[in-house]
Amino acid sequence: MSRYFRARITENLPLNSSHNIISLANLEDMEEPLPGQFFMVQINQGYDPLLKRPFSIYRKTAEGFELLFRIKGKGTALLKGMKEGAVIDVIGPLGNSYPLPSESQFPVIIAGGIGIASVHPLVERLSGKAYVIYGAKIGDELFMREDLEKIAGNLLLCTDDGSCGQKGTVIDVITGLRSRLREMREVIIYSCGPAAMVREVTMFAAEHAIKAYVSLEEHMACGIGACLGCVVKTRKGYRRVCREGPVFDAADIIWREDPR
């Protein structure tokens, strides 16, 4: 069993103009992925683009796995163009994972936009037990809702324009829950989403002395810890997102002045 294997695209389904869900069937055995882990996925034929792209494991399937991705730049545009039957290289599962809550901890999962891809396996794992707050700009970008309804204990949706769920950001929602959370037994937050959002979540957690684990993103070359290219600044020094991360204890992160 190797963490470098080939997979065949069995379906590449557009969810909207800028997001796809792609299903792959493994041609070799794959290690069992943990919630929050990711793959480095080949998206090129020639040398431009050159590097593999990191994607969270959205869901493990019988024959392989699924990725939920946003068309961001040229690599994901190429990935969107890839047809059923195409075979690509994959490295992984990579990185650490979301530490599961203890018996005494009540899990609150906060996802923004495509960040849902990272936390989805955790929602599955905690089936029914977690509060899930899921926000996006518009309702059209809140994906797989039915599916989430089923597996989330309590699903709170929100959109900037109010076109679906509560109007506002996930921060507004979690802030609204403050009192309720206080009544609860120990709360633990898991979060993934745009840098600015994740940062606010960590601020919120700090304020209310809530333990929080967040998944971060950085540009990657190797994905396995060798190039030192994907570091983020933490209280312990620079740490590799692909190795010590992508999931970090929110309390350890030292945020850059300008989150990109």
């Binding site: 683009p49 050159l50 950085e218 540009h219 994905g223 810890g225 060798a226 290219g229 994907c230």
Partner: protein, 303 residues
């Protein structure tokens, strides 16, 4: 078929090694390829003291290449020897330690310390780094400074000494000559070419360090030309690198004058690239009925 090549008085079992900084200290990649099959493992550049490196972002992809501004982050010579070297010793391969300093004194002390350690087969000096004493100019861009620092290190070590040249110079052959005259047993090239990228919306550099080093297929034509120029200028073995992605690329470097090649950025694209390249070279030698890899080096025709 003979694949062994000599780098100074070090004999490596085949001409394919990994390029410094792209293969860590060997641990991460051991899962994807057997380091014991490599001609040599060249480790991430080390300095006397640990170095924390540059603020992120450290990597930007460019057309057929990438810019990196790692900032030479490393765990330092001591920790390397105590924590990383034992792992590398297990494998039947040569261990080449890449190192650097920001002063001649630091170079010398690092070389002395490495000299003592068991399981190090050669040293590769990275002279593409800023010289604190000389106002942060790069050691490897001035032949006088180059020969000064190489000469000093030469005295400090009995190990085969490879000097790795910076491509950011007007005439690479002058640098190669300076290094060889100062005692280098071999020359490796090229290091990355300095470049940058800008985010047009934020109007900020895409790298935390503003500029970074360009590597990958994009630089191959430049690397190949420089290997060819150095081959015509010096007699010592050359380790060629720069954009080698497949066996064909590697063979171009051998024909242009390299005795061995190093695989860098390709490791990121395909973690088993180095061995795929080795196998491809062997395949080519069979097809062309080449008995000895040495007989391929510097065989460029019609020039």
């Amino acid at each position: 078929m003979n694949l062994t090549v000599n780098i100074g008085n070090l004999r490596i079992k085949n001409p394919v090694m990994t390029a410094s900084g792209t293969f860590g200290y060997g641990e991460e990649y051991a899962e994807f390829l057997d380091p014991g099959r490599l001609g040599a493992v060249v480790v991430k550049g080390l300095s006397l003291e640990p170095k924390e490196g540059n603020p992120p972002p450290r990597i930007v992809e460019t057309a057929s290449g990438m810019l990196n501004a790692i900032g030479l982050q490393n765990i330092g010579v001591e920790l390397f020897i105590s924590e990383k070297l034992p792992f590398l010793r297990q494998f039947d391969t040569s261990v080449i330690v890449n190192f650097f300093g920001d002063s001649i004194d630091e170079y010398v002390r690092a070389a002395e310390r490495l000299n003592g350690a068991e399981g190090i087969h050669a040293l590769e000096m990275n002279i593409s780094c800023p010289n604190k004493e000389k106002g942060w100019c790069i050691f490897g861009t001035d032949p006088r400074v180059t020969s000064e620092v190489v000469g000093a290190v030469r005295k400090a070590t009995s190990l085969p000494l490879i000097v790795k040249l910076s491509p950011n110079v007007t005439d690479i052959s002058v640098m190669a000559k300076a290094a060889v005259d100062a005692g280098a047993d071999a020359i490796s090239l090229i290091n990355t070419i300095t470049g940058m990228a800008v985010d047009i919306r934020t109007r900020r550099p895409k790298l935390g360090n503003v500029t970074g080093g360009l590597s990958g297929p994009a630089i191959k034509p430049v690397a190949l030309r420089m290997v060819y120029e150095v081959y015509k200028a010096v007699k010592v073995p050359i380790i060629g690198m720069g954009g080698i992605m497949n066996a064909g690329d590697a063979i171009e470097f051998l024909i242009a004058g390299a005795s061995a090649v190093a695989v860098g950025t390709a490791n990121f694209v395909k973690p088993d690239s180095a061995l795929e390249i080795l196998d491809g070279i062997v395949e080519f030698m069979k097809e062309e009925a080449i008995e000895d890899i040495d007989s391929l080096t510097g065989t460029l025709r019609g020039t």
